[in-house]
C-alpha cells in the first residue's frame, strides 16, 4: 500500500508538471526566456468565434467546369475534323454538359468515329440520331471516370488558386481545405476587411480577349437577333455616382486569347494618375497576341473578365513584346485586387458562397471575457460549496477540480484542439459535472460510514462501488460528445472536444488523484479517527 501510494504520487506530480508545461505557453506573460526553451511551443488556439475572422464555405460549380471542358473539346473537334475534311457543324454544349453537333455527310460516319476514338478518348458517344437530309446528330459525354477526374482536378485547382490569392492578399494562418460535395472551406482569422476578401476569393477571373464585330446591328442583337458566330456582351462602365452602366456590344464569340497565358499582372498609373492593370504574357501568349493584333489593326479588341467587357480599345498597330493593359475607371484598390487575382490565376469554375460567418475581433474578445467571467464565478461557487458541504473531503474535491481544469487546458494545447465559445461553455459545464464523480464517491463513503465501517474501510468501499457507476455514467456522455464531434463543424466541435476532455480528466482526477489524497490522509491518522466528509 505504501509503495503503491508513493508511485501514484510520483505519477500524479509528473502529470501535473506535464500539464503545466503545456498550459504555460498560452500565457506568455508567465513564461521567462529560460523556460521558453524547454516548454512546448503550442498554445491553445482560439476558434474564429473568439479570435474574430471569417469562415466561408464555397461551392464550386463543377458543372461549369465540365461544360467548359466540353466546349473546348468541341472547338478541338471542329478544328481536327476540318483538317481531315469531315463536315462537322456547330458543336454546342447542352445545359446537361453534353456536347452535341451535326455530321453533315452521313457517309463520313466511320471517319468521324475513328477520329473520336483516336483523339478524343475522354468522351463517349451517348446518342447518334439520323436527322434526315444526310445529317447525323451526335451527343457526346465525358466518360464517367474522366468526369470524376475532371471534377477532382477542378476542386484541387480551385483550392490552389484560392490559396494563392489569399497568400498574396496577406492573411496570417489561413486555413483552406477541401470538403465533401465539391465544397471548399476557407477560414481567415483576424480579418478586418471581409468584403474585400470575398471580392478577391470569389472572382473567377476568367479573362478572355475577343474581337468586336462592328458590322453587327447592336439594337437587333439586344432583341436577340445575332449573326452566326457572334455573341452579345455588355461593357461595364462605372459612372460618377458609383452605379454601373451596361452598354451592349456584339463580339465574335471565338475567344482569341485567354488569361492562362498571363505570367504577371501589376497595378500601374497612367499620365493622369489613373490606375490600370498591366499584363505580361508568356512567350506563347505573346506570339498569339502579336499575330492577333497584326491581323486586326483598326479593329476593336474586347477584354472580357468573367463575362463582362472591361474595355474595348481599338488596335492601333501590331503589339509585340507580350504586354497588354486593362483600363477601366478603377480605384487603386480595385486595380490592385484585379491584378492580384489575374496573377494568382483564374478559378477553373465559378464559386458560390454557400455559408459565411464573420466575427469582428471586438466581439471575439468580448466573448472570451464573458466566458472567463462566467467560468470564474461558477467555479468559485462550486469550490466554496464543496468545502461547506463536505468539509475536509470538499477540499480534496476542490483540488481535484482545479487539477481537472488544468488537464482540460493542457489537453486543448497538447492535442492542438481549438477553443471556441461553446468550448468555453463546455468547460463551464464540465466544472459543474466534474464534481459529480466526487459527489458519487463521497455519498457512497457517507453511506458506508453510516453502516459503521471505519473511515479506511468506508473510503475503500466507496471508491470501489462508485467506480463502475462513474464509468457507466460517463461513457454515455462521451458517446454523445463523439457523435457531436462527428457531425459538428467549427464551434460545435470545440464544444465536443472540451466536453470529452473534461469527462476524461474528471474520471482521472476523481478516481485517481482524490484517492491519493484520501489514502495519504488516512495513512497519517489512527485507524479510527473521524473522517470529515
Amino acid at each position: 500500500m505504501n509503495r503503491s501510494l508513493r508511485w501514484r504520487i510520483v505519477l500524479t506530480v509528473c502529470v501535473a508538471l506535464l500539464a503545466i508545461a503545456y498550459v504555460l505557453p498560452t500565457f506568455p506573460s508567465l513564461v521567462t526566456d529560460g523556460l521558453k526553451r524547454i516548454l512546448p511551443e503550442r498554445q491553445i488556439s482560439l476558434g474564429l468565434d473568439l479570435k474574430g475572422g471569417m469562415h466561408l464555405t464555397l461551392g464550386v460549380d463543377v458543372k461549369k467546369a465540365v461544360a467548359n471542358s466540353m466546349a473546348q473539346t468541341g472547338r478541338n473537334l471542329r478544328d481536327e475534323a476540318r483538317e481531315q475534311k469531315i463536315a462537322v457543324f456547330r458543336p454546342e454544349v447542352t445545359p446537361e454538359g453534353m456536347l452535341t453537333f451535326a455530321l453533315l455527310k452521313k457517309d463520313q460516319q466511320k471517319q468521324l468515329e475513328d477520329l473520336l476514338a483516336a483523339s478524343f478518348r475522354q468522351v463517349q458517344i451517348v446518342n447518334r440520331a439520323d436527322e434526315g437530309n444526310d445529317r447525323m446528330v451526335y451527343s457526346l459525354a465525358l466518360k464517367p471516370e474522366d468526369q470524376t477526374n475532371l471534377e477532382k482536378l477542378t476542386i484541387e485547382q480551385a483550392v490552389k488558386t484560392i490559396r494563392n490569392r489569399i497568400d498574396q492578399f496577406g492573411v496570417s494562418e489561413p486555413d483552406i481545405r477541401r470538403q465533401q460535395d465539391n465544397r471548399i472551406q476557407v477560414q481567415l482569422p483576424g480579418l478586418d476587411d471581409p468584403e474585400r476578401a470575398i471580392q478577391i476569393i470569389g472572382k473567377t477571373a476568367h479573362l478572355e480577349f475577343m474581337l468586336v464585330d462592328d458590322t453587327a446591328d447592336v439594337s437587333k442583337a439586344v432583341q436577340g437577333v445575332l449573326p452566326p458566330g457572334d455573341a452579345l456582351y455588355f461593357l461595364h462602365k462605372k459612372l460618377a455616382d458609383g452605379t454601373i452602366s451596361k452598354q451592349p456590344m456584339v463580339l465574335k464569340s471565338e475567344v482569341v486569347l485567354t488569361g492562362e497565358y498571363i505570367t504577371d499582372a501589376r497595378t500601374q498609373f497612367d499620365s493622369y494618375g489613373q490606375p490600370y492593370v498591366s499584363l505580361n504574357f508568356s512567350d506563347r501568349g505573346a506570339k498569339i497576341f502579336e499575330r492577333i493584333t497584326a491581323e486586326n489593326v483598326k479593329k476593336r479588341l474586347a477584354i472580357v473578365l468573367d463575362g463582362a467587357i472591361y474595355s474595348a480599345p481599338v488596335i492601333q498597330e501590331k503589339i509585340g513584346g507580350g504586354r497588354a493593359s486593362i483600363s477601366g475607371q478603377f480605384t487603386t484598390d480595385e486595380a490592385h485586387d484585379l491584378a492580384l487575382v489575374l496573377r494568382a490565376g483564374s478559378l477553373p469554375a465559378p464559386v458560390e458562397i454557400l455559408e459565411e460567418r464573420t466575427i469582428g475581433p471586438s466581439l471575439g474578445q468580448e466573448s472570451i471575457d464573458k466566458g472567463v467571467l462566467s467560468a470564474l464565478i461558477g467555479g468559485a461557487l462550486i469550490l466554496v460549496f464543496m468545502i461547506v458541504y463536505y468539509g475536509f473531503a470538499g477540499i480534496i474535491a476542490d483540488i481535484a477540480l482545479i487539477f481537472n481544469i488544468l488537464l482540460i487546458m493542457a489537453g486543448l494545447a497538447g492535442f492542438g484542439a481549438t477553443l471556441t465559445l461553446p468550448g468555453i461553455a463546455g468547460i463551464i459545464l464540465t466544472i459543474g459535472m466534474a464534481v459529480d464523480a466526487n459527489v458519487l464517491i463521497f455519498e457512497r463513503i457517507r453511506e458506508e460510514l453510516r453502516k459503521g465501517f471505519s473511515p479506511r474501510a468506508a473510503v475503500d468501499e466507496g471508491y470501489s462501488r462508485a467506480t463502475l457507476t462513474i464509468l457507466d455514467a460517463n461513457v454515455t456522455t462521451i458517446i454523445a460528445a463523439v457523435v457531436l464531434y462527428q457531425f459538428g463543424t467549427g464551434p460545435i466541435r470545440g464544444f465536443a472536444v472540451t466536453l470529452t476532455l473534461g469527462i476524461l480528466a474528471s474520471m482521472f482526477t476523481a478516481l485517481f488523484v482524490s484517492r491519493i489524497l484520501f489514502d495519504y490522509w488516512l495513512k497519517k491518522r489512527p485507524a479510527n479517527a473521524a473522517l470529515s466528509i
Binding site: 462566467s374 458541504y389 459543474g432 453510516r450
Partner: protein
C-alpha cells in the same frame, strides 16, 4: 460530517405517485407538441433555415425605433430588427430570410442606410452570418442524424452494459439499420425518418425486452421533446448550438438515469423474487437522491452563471441546458425508473463478476 440536504433515511414515495408523474409528463409533452403544430414546426434559426443575420453594436444609447426607421427603405425581404443581449449592450440583431442578395450586398446596404440616416451614432458590424439554403438543409439533416445516432449508440451501450446482452443490442442495431435503409429507399424526408427510427428503436427495445435501454431511451426522448416544446412555447430559435445543448442534455439525462439504474441493479442482487420490486426501485431512487440533487445543483449553479454572464451569443444555449438539466433530473426519477419497473428489470443472475472484482 459536513452538511446534508437529504437526510440518510429519506424515503419519499416516488414510485407511488408515478401515475401523476406520467400525467404531468404527458401534459408537458402535449403542450409542447401542440405549440409546435400550431406554429408549424420549430422556429429554425439561420443555421437550418438559411438566411443572414447581422449583429450591430452602436457606440452610445440605442433607440431601436430609430434603427427601424433608418432601415425602413432597405429593400430586404423579411427583415427583422431586435435588441440583442443585455440592455446596456446597445446591440441589435438584424435578420433576413432573403436569398436574393449576397451577404456583402446586404452588409453594404445596411451600413449605408445606417450611416446616412443615423449619422450621429457610430456603429460597428460585429458579426455577419449567412447560411445558404443548401448548407441549411445539410445542417438540418446532419443535426437530426446526430441526435438519432447518439440515442441509438447509447441504447446499445446500456443494453450491453446492464444486461450483458451485447448480441441482442447488436441485433437491435442491425434491425434498425435495415429498416432505415428500406425507409430511405422510399425517400422519406429526414424528419420522418428520424421519428420512425426512434419509434422502431423503442419498439425493438420493448420486443427484445431490453428494459433498461427502454427506460433510458424513453426518458431522454422525453427530455428532448420537453426542451424542444419549451423552446417552441417561448418562441426561441433553434440553431446549431441548441442541437449541441440537446445532445448534452441527452448525455446528462442518461448520466443521471444510469446512476439510479446502477443502484437498482445493485440492490436487485441478493434479492430474490419480484414481490418487493417497486419498493426496491423506490429505495434505490432515495439512496441516490442526495447525489442526484447535489450534482444537478452544482451543474445548475455554473450553467446559471453562464446564462447570466455569458453574453448574448451563448444565452439560448445556456437556457437550453438549464431546462434540460431540470427535466433530465426529473425524468431519471419520475420517468426512467418507473418505466423500468413497469416492464420489469432483468435480474442479474447470469451476470459475470465484474462488480465483485471491482469491490476487491
Amino acid at each position: 460530517m459536513g452538511l446534508r440536504i437529504i437526510p440518510p433515511d429519506t424515503n419519499i414515495n416516488f414510485i407511488g405517485v408515478r401515475k401523476y408523474a406520467y400525467a404531468f409528463s404527458i401534459i408537458l409533452i402535449l403542450v409542447g407538441l401542440i405549440s409546435l403544430v400550431v406554429k408549424g414546426g420549430p422556429r429554425l434559426g439561420i443555421d437550418f433555415a438559411g438566411g443572414t443575420i447581422i449583429q450591430i453594436e452602436f457606440d452610445k444609447g440605442l433607440d431601436i425605433d430609430r434603427v427601424k426607421s433608418a432601415l425602413n427603405d432597405v429593400p430586404l425581404s423579411g427583415l427583422t430588427i431586435q435588441r440583442f443581449g443585455q440592455d446596456d449592450e446597445n446591440t441589435v440583431l438584424l435578420r433576413t430570410s432573403t436569398e436574393e442578395a449576397n451577404p456583402e450586398q446586404i452588409r453594404a446596404m445596411v451600413s449605408e442606410a445606417l450611416a446616412s440616416n443615423m449619422a450621429d451614432t457610430p456603429f460597428t458590424v460585429q458579426r455577419l452570418e449567412m447560411v445558404g439554403p443548401k448548407v441549411g438543409a445539410d445542417l438540418r439533416g446532419k443535426a437530426l442524424e446526430a441526435l438519432f445516432y447518439a440515442v441509438l449508440l447509447i441504447a446499445i451501450y446500456i443494453s450491453g452494459r446492464f444486461e450483458q446482452r451485447w448480441m441482442t443490442s447488436a441485433i437491435m442495431a442491425g434491425g434498425l439499420a435495415g429498416t432505415i435503409y428500406v425507409l430511405q429507399l422510399m425517400s422519406l424526408p429526414t424528419t420522418y425518418l428520424i421519428v420512425a427510427a426512434m419509434l422502431i428503436t423503442l419498439a425493438l427495445c420493448w420486443y427484445l425486452k431490453l428494459n433498461y435501454a427502454l427506460g433510458a431511451v424513453v426518458a431522454l426522448t422525453h427530455d428532448v421533446i420537453v426542451t424542444v416544446g419549451i423552446f417552441s412555447l417561448l418562441n426561441k430559435e433553434f440553431d446549431l448550438t441548441i442541437i449541441a445543448a440537446l445532445l448534452t442534455i441527452v448525455g446528462y439525462s442518461l448520466n443521471d438515469t444510469i446512476i439510479v439504474f446502477d443502484r437498482i441493479r445493485e440492490n436487485l442482487r441478493g434479492k430474490s423474487g419480484k414481490s418487493s420490486l417497486s419498493r426496491l426501485v423506490n429505495k434505490s431512487i432515495n439512496e441516490t437522491l442526495s447525489r442526484t440533487i447535489l450534482t444537478s445543483g452544482t451543474t445548475l449553479m455554473v450553467v446559471f452563471c453562464l446564462f447570466l454572464f455569458g453574453g448574448g451569443v451563448i444565452h439560448d444555449f445556456a437556457f437550453a441546458l438549464l431546462v434540460g438539466i431540470f427535466v433530465g433530473t426529473y425524468s431519471s426519477i419520475y420517468v426512467a425508473s418507473p418505466i423500468l419497473l413497469g416492464f420489469g428489470p432483468t435480474l442479474p443472475d447470469s451476470e459475470p463478476e465484474d462488480r465483485e472484482r471491482a469491490a476487491v
